[in-house]
Symmetry: C2
Subunit: 461 residues, 2 copies
């Protein structure tokens, strides 16, 4: 009788990494700094102090290679971490591939995604700084849920502006945030100047992530006991997510494997950075030998593959610092695809810089292909993936199918950054054939991006 197939590679709690990895320490060249939109000069800590506690501001520009994870944060992490690494035997069998597919599964977290990895330390550092309340925005709802849970751990209030279209379409996400104790408003709301301005011009506005950011930032900036929290894009967010990749390195080593290809989906970049940065450290240390590392983005919001590398705002209203990043223009409104977590006009400055340096690849995929991979994955591996990671799954499946022809026993690692339990209407639309794909070949998309890029901010000075 053959030995049983091993599906999961587990780490015990005492094997959980106790440090985050700071890739800034190891980059061949540093990424361009954020600029103050009024002066055109690099922002300093004082420019960020109205929104963030000093510990997080320091992490944003940290130069040491590792940052210790506070004991209090580790204690919360251990509710679900280390997360499992799975070998996708049943998917491989369905494909008949000689490739070996591994997926690092973050859906075991309280929010059902990787987002609590940064929500918990952000809540911790804010609580330690004496902050009473955190505000934030949420689109798909994963980030708002994560922050609601994290705030409950450290006795912080949590106020979330959820993009109106998502607030209406995803009532389950709102209820989950409320169950964790958060207050949730649809955005635009009449609680902020930014919201009221939008409602005055368009009472039926469906909102956007950029506008919801403006509302949450506006409220936080007005009260010294209230801070703002962001779920992706920034350096300290990606830093916190590196625990994913650190665990995956340990888990692959446990089964004597090393990855040939790593694929992750990218919206703001935190899931992708979290998984891949520790592997990039090893690759840089090995003089470039190591896995191919590939970001997969939606074809209808292709910031890496079609955007411009330029200074732009992180939000619609222009309240944030200017970030050097791949962008489609800060007022570009992506298609309402179901992978709401990937509908962001920009890309993390760190990921953008790595892409410019040739250290990561990128490709764009249409959502029907992604859902097809998601359904195949659900029926073979038993997990219904969130729409976001189906982008990476589609890439992994295609690579595994190529290996059927070439016979390569390629080791493919993918980030399964969340489950799709609260995204099931998207599967319903796919199964009924109601999904429409928009690709870069659509002239409307090209024209919308071209127009948004004409409105990139000028750099003063």
């Amino acid at each position: 009788m053959p030995a049983p197939l091993r599906h999961k590679v587990l780490l015990d709690e005492d094997e959980m990494p106790t440090r985050w990895y700071n890739i800034l320490h190891d980059l061949p060249t540093p990424p361009p700094p954020p600029l103050h939109p009024g002066t055109g000069q690099p922002v300093g800590p004082e420019d960020l102090a109205a929104l963030f506690p000093m510990d997080l501001i320091a992490q944003e520009v940290a130069s040491e290679q590792y940052v210790d994870i506070p004991e209090e944060v580790q204690d919360v992490y251990r509710l679900w971490r280390p997360s499992p690494l799975f070998r996708a035997h049943r998917l491989e069998q369905a494909l008949g591939t000689p490739a070996r597919i591994y997926y690092k599964y973050e859906g075991v977290s309280p929010a059902g995604s990787h987002k609590p990895n940064t929500a918990v330390p952000q809540a911790y550092y804010n609580a330690r700084a004496g902050i009473r309340k955190l505000t934030t925005e949420t689109g798909a709802g994963q980030w708002g849920t994560a922050l609601a849970f994290a705030c409950a751990q450290f006795d912080l209030e949590c106020e979330v502006w959820q993009v109106r279209a998502s607030y209406d379409a995803k009532p389950y996400r709102k209820i989950m945030m409320e169950t964790f104790g958060a207050t949730v408003h649809p955005s635009p709301s009449d609680l902020t100047e930014a919201g009221r301005t939008m409602l005055a011009s368009d009472p039926g506005s469906p909102g956007s992530l950029g506008l919801a950011i403006s509302e949450a930032v506006e409220v936080a900036a007005q009260d010294a006991t209230v801070n703002y929290a962001l779920g992706s894009v920034l350096n300290h967010v990606l830093l916190h997510q590196t625990i994913i990749g650190e665990e995956a390195l340990l888990q692959l080593a446990k089964v004597g494997e090393s990855a040939d290809l790593i694929v992750g989906c990218t919206g703001g970049g935190s899931n992708f950075g979290g998984l891949t940065f520790p592997f990039l450290r090893e690759k840089l240390a090995a003089g470039g030998a190591g896995p191919v590392i590939r970001a997969v983005e939606p074809a209808s919001c292709p910031s890496l593959t079609q955007g411009t590398y330029a200074y732009d705002f992180g939000d619609v209203a222009g309240l944030t610092p200017l970030l050097k990043m791949h962008t489609l223009g800060h007022d570009f409104i992506p298609d309402p695809i179901h992978a709401g977590g990937l509908r962001y006009h920009g890309m993390s400055p760190l990921i953008s810089h790595l892409y410019e340096e040739g250290l990561v690849e990128a490709e764009a995929r249409t959502q029907r292909d992604c859902f097809a991979a998601g359904v195949l994955f659900a029926r073979t591996e038993g997990i219904v993936p969130a729409p976001e990671p189906t982008h990476a799954l589609a890439a992994a499946v295609d690579e595994a199918i190529r290996c059927v022809d070439t016979g390569e026993e390629k080791v493919i690692l993918t980030a399964l950054c969340g489950h799709g339990h609260l995204d099931l209407p998207a599967y319903d639309a796919y199964l009924r054939g109601d999904l429409v794909d928009h690709t870069w070949e659509d002239s409307e998309l090209q024209e919308a991006v071209a127009a948004a890029l004409t409105r990139l901010p000028a750099i003063p000075g």
Copy 2:
């Protein structure tokens, strides 16, 4: 610095139990047999052969103490098993209790509950018997989801009749079944005689679990290549669920603990039996020394605490054998409480027998108390529980609070049989104060049960 708290007790895949435990072997007295409703005589294998494969019929009356789990079933189990045992440190801290609370979490499964533990072997044995399709009913939707997943593993078709009220109120459950490849009909449907009869008399009927069973059984009985699968109540179902308790025994031993109190919710009894039977084996072997074992049922459907121990049908239409069980009457329609999985008029004959023998206790709880415990649990432990296990959580929390006064360091083990991601509207109703509690003191409930009990079937012969 104190040692970090350990939240999870994990087993490796090669520590997964490879046998189910058959409590029939160890009972002081055997439970009364199922009877044929036409003859009043014990049913034989031939009476069940139109619905179930011989392997499962044999397991229904097996006399050996253990049944080997087939390799093919083990391979699917290992997608999520062994499931984690958690120590609820953060809940304990919130309560300030000296009690130690453990929960065995089955929400990591593909369906998000314990149901795949029996769906997978049922699909396997049916596939091995050459069956082409399985039919079943589902109320809350957990069972239908589990069977849909299991059928996908063994290339079986799966056809589910979902109670109309649940079909309309829980669209996410239906989509999840369809994502796993099943076909889902609302019940009553016009596809069966039972459904058409109901629709003729009440075109707007919301359906019931008993009627959906009648529809699924009717379709299976008409085609030799189609069988029926049941998700609770029967001996072979509870047998398959004992892997939960076998794992929990190993996990508690790993941390040097033994339970003083075990609480589990009961609908048909499979979650409760699955966790507790292996502990009952140890208790019987120790001459009765061991944990108190307590079933917790909804106050509005109190089959153990208020029902009659009598022969009754498992379904509304009277298509099943007569089962000796605690029952509220086979045509009793429970309140539409949110714990849909506990809305069943009867109780597993095995659990009913154990209750009569004094080997398990029972209590009934109202849903607002249960949701209060569920919200506290979500905010401390990070998992939003399904409405069903909040009944057991409420009992565990009460016991832990008693320990605050007595100072007892009691070890409480509870079955967290599923997550509540697809039940979030129930939390919304609770948080908004919209839930109504019905207790045994309500005369309407007592009258409805008394009336249903006058319609218990007569035993022929």
